[in-house]
């Protein structure tokens, strides 16, 4: 299993001052698999997500992504790896710059890599998440929460990642809208073989959506 793992996390520890937010957490994630981290607020699931993405460098432990150890890489060595593991955040509005048009937000990952994405490329990305390409001209505040979340997913897909770290991606959405976004994520996984690390506090959603569930409590894995 460990050879084929997309993500292999061992003995991950994250501390904030005196408190240990993540306490020796280990798990693996295969391509095409959804692994859920579930638990009450403050249990360390979001800290785990940030540490996996190396957005908060862990205090100790290993994070092996596509066979490569990330914790020992410098920030500039990490930069080429980052596009292959992308986050989607809880707050659909906050994760998009309010000043930029949707088109530019979706194109940014490609621009960062020095590419010049065409209009058709962006239209395809928007279409892929079920948005009409005409939305490209709008700004985030002109969209509903569910639509913004789709834009966030389109942006994450732009750099052709292998792993999506989904941090409470549907928690701020209404139920009827939430179902559509969950279906979209499931379709994308089937089509692209993406691995999902799915952070969610809602047991019913987790039970429905994830292949495997890890329960966390006080920074530790309590079952799973």
């Amino acid at each position: 299993m460990s050879d084929a793992a997309l993500l292999d996390v061992r003995d991950l520890v994250v501390r904030y001052g005196d408190t240990t937010a993540v306490d020796h957490v280990s798990f693996t994630l295969a391509p095409g698999e959804t692994l859920a981290l579930n638990g009450p607020s403050g249990c360390g699931k979001s800290s785990t997500a940030l540490a996996v993405l190396q957005l908060r460098r862990p205090d100790s432990g290993e994070v092996r992504f596509e066979g490569r150890e990330l914790t020992t890489l410098t920030e500039s060595e990490l930069r080429p790896v980052r596009p292959r593991m992308q986050p989607v955040f809880q707050d659909p509005y906050g994760s998009l710059s309010p000043r930029h048009r949707i088109r530019d937000a979706v194109a940014e990952p490609l621009r960062i890599q020095g590419q010049r994405p065409t209009r058709t490329q962006i239209a395809e990305l928007l279409d892929r998440v079920g948005l009409d390409p005409s939305y490209g001209d709008r700004r985030p505040h002109e969209l509903s929460g569910g639509q913004c979340q789709r834009v966030g997913i389109a942006r994450a897909l732009a750099s052709e990642p292998r792993l999506l770290v989904l941090d409470e991606p549907v928690s701020s959405l209404d139920p009827s809208v939430r179902a559509g976004v969950l279906n979209l994520l499931a379709d994308l996984q089937d089509d692209l073989g993406l691995g999902y690390l799915f952070i969610c506090h809602d047991r019913a959603v987790v039970r429905h959506f994830a292949h495997r569930v890890i329960e966390m409590r006080d920074g530790r894995i309590s079952s799973g």
Binding site: G94, H141, S159
Partner: protein, 578 residues
């Protein structure tokens, strides 16, 4: 992260304070003009200023020993309670400072009373009606500079109506006008702080719980007041500090022998020991008020102090129709434009103090110069200097916005220093002039912008979309140039623009006190000061710059309000509907 920012803010505060005190101590060395000459003239008018006599005086004053020795000697004397001897009168400085301080404390006490009463009047309707805001009116009052109000009060109550004495310090009736001039802007500011904060507090969740549980409106109003005051106490301290600056102008206009007038006189006559003593006294007064504010806050809050929820919700913006600032700006621009086409320097002794006519639409001044022309040209220099200060502050703010600790600490110190005091210090060091006044105003206007920039930088850095940028593999340079700077630069630039009228007013107040532009330069503050002597014969000469300054104050307030009112996104309104 937060802790280090806290610590560096504290460090900046201490460093700034030491720097200010050291500047005071080094004044004799900093002022490039030779004080020995001043002292010689003052002590013995008949003696020739020979090199020998001058160096004897220099040695006597300790000026030849170099800056460090001078500072050391001054500090040592200070610790013994010795403030030195006046260069002009030759008497001890300490008694004059104490006497001035007593008068000023009396004046400030009365002014504070008026301020609190006025603030209560402004806040009452907000409490009674539960919302709405007296903020706009209060902001208007707060924006009127003391020197302007003092001049108008002198003109109306003292000269035209003859109700109250306008000069001196001989009884309680002498207190009324100065205390009003000093207290009304402070009361406007106090009232505005509370009235702006109250509606947001009345929107807090607990008010819903209390209302829903049947608590009476009066009890809720009292509770809201208790909720709103403690976080504002430090700002109240700043209002009290502001009184020390205002006192200088007010004491000058009404010839009140207080510490502010003493300091101003000492600065003008280059009597540096007296100036050092009085400025130190003013600083001490400011520090004491700050300390009292902290103590009051502790007393008010008690054990609730540690709650993070004690920060106030952001005040609901006072909204003004954009037509108001646009109209004010248009009237000012028209007047200034018309005046610029005319000649401000030609003397015409035949038409001195002429009433308004077609030839001189706003009349003439004591030398027969056209008031409209002087107003127009004065605006060009005042506003031009203010614009330069704004631009400079903006650049500094953007650079220092990335050092939040420094920005916050500097902002604290700048808030505790009224522009007039800084103006006096700078004028004493460089001599009065446009450059010195500009330096003084610039010194205290950049920190507010830096603090704003620092807050925005922190907000942007903490936002999820920036985390997303890092996750995409964006370089720090990309993030800085594509996201952080654009998000920060535009709002801070708007803020700088909004401060322009306020900065122009500060420049005018220094000009009014004789610390800025010098005659015959047409400068608004100076125009007002020059016309004061003839106010009974030619009120229009004083009225024109007074009205222009009032319009400027109105522009400062309504411009800010209109800009704030506009910044409401559709998203916020739908949330409010729920």
């Amino acid at each position: 992260m937060k802790l280090t920012a806290h610590r560096s803010a504290a460090l900046t505060r201490i460093v700034s304070l030491v720097a200010v005190v050291a500047t005071v101590g080094l004044l004799p060395w900093l002022s490039h003009r030779d004080p020995a000459l001043t002292v010689l003239r003052a002590r013995s008018a008949e003696r020739e200023p020979t090199e020998e006599a001058l160096s004897a005086i220099r040695a006597d004053l300790g000026l030849d020993a170099g800056p460090l020795a001078l500072l050391r000697g001054w500090a040592a004397d200070l610790l013994h309670g010795d403030l030195g001897t006046s260069w002009v009168s030759g008497t001890d400085v300490l008694p004059s400072v104490v006497a001035g301080l007593q008068v000023s404390l009396g004046l400030m006490g009365a002014a504070l009373g008026i301020a609190v009463a006025l603030a209560a009047v402004l806040v009452a309707p907000v409490l009674v009606r539960g919302r709405g805001s007296a903020g706009a009116f209060a902001a208007m009052l707060a924006a009127v500079p003391e020197f302007l109000l003092a001049t108008v009060a002198l003109l109306v109550c003292g000269v035209w109506l003859g109700w109250l004495p306008t000069a001196g310090w001989a009884g309680p009736e002498y207190l009324v006008l100065p205390a009003l001039a000093l207290g009304v802007p402070a009361g406007g500011l106090l009232g505005r702080l509370v009235a702006d904060a109250l509606p947001a507090v009345l929107d807090e969740r607990w008010v819903e719980l209390w209302r829903g549980a049947g608590v009476r409106r009066t009890a809720i109003s009292a509770a809201a007041l208790k909720r709103v005051l403690p976080p504002l106490v430090p700002q109240f301290g700043m209002v009290a500090v502001g009184l020390t600056g205002g006192a200088v102008a007010v004491e000058m206009v009404f010839a009140v022998p207080g510490i502010g007038r003493t300091a101003l006189g000492a600065a003008k006559s280059q009597d540096l020991p007296l100036l050092q003593g009085s400025v130190l006294a003013l600083l001490l007064l400011g520090l004491l008020t700050g300390g009292v504010a902290v103590a009051v806050r502790h007393r008010l809050l008690g054990p609730a102090l540690r709650d993070a929820g004690l920060t106030l919700p952001p005040p609901r913006p006072v909204r003004a129709h954009p037509a108001i600032p646009l109209t004010l700006a248009a009237v000012l621009a028209l007047t200034i434009g018309w005046g610029l086409l005319r000649d401000p320097y030609t003397l015409n002794t035949a038409a001195r103090l002429a009433a308004p006519s077609w030839a001189h639409p706003l009349g003439t001044d004591a030398l027969g110069r056209d008031v409209l022309a002087r107003l127009g040209h004065g605006a060009a220099s005042t506003v031009g200097t203010a614009a330069a200060i704004c631009a400079l502050s903006l650049l500094l703010a953007l650079a220092l916005g990335f050092l939040p600790g420094v920005a916050a600490g500097a902002a604290d110190i700048a808030n505790a220093l009224p522009p007039v005091i800084v103006g006096i210090l700078v004028a004493a060091a460089t001599g009065p002039g446009t450059g010195g006044a500009a330096l003084a105003v610039a010194l205290i206007s950049w920190p507010a912008l830096s603090a704003h920039a620092a807050a925005l930088v922190q907000e942007v850095r903490a936002s999820a979309f920036l985390t997303a940028q890092r996750a995409m593999g964006a370089t720090p340079f990309w993030i800085l140039t594509r996201h952080v700077l654009p998000s920060v630069a535009a709002p801070v630039a708007r803020h700088a623009l909004l401060r322009l009228p306020g900065i122009a007013l500060a420049l005018a107040s220094l000009g009014f006190l004789g610390l800025g532009a010098q005659p015959p330069t047409p400068e608004w503050g100076l125009l007002l000061d020059e016309s004061r002597a003839y106010v009974e014969r030619a009120p229009w000469a004083a009225l024109a710059p007074a009205v222009a300054l009032a319009l400027l104050a109105g522009l400062a307030v309504s411009g800010a309000a209109a800009a704030q009112g506009r910044r409401r996104t559709p998203k916020e309104t739908t949330v409010a509907l729920r």
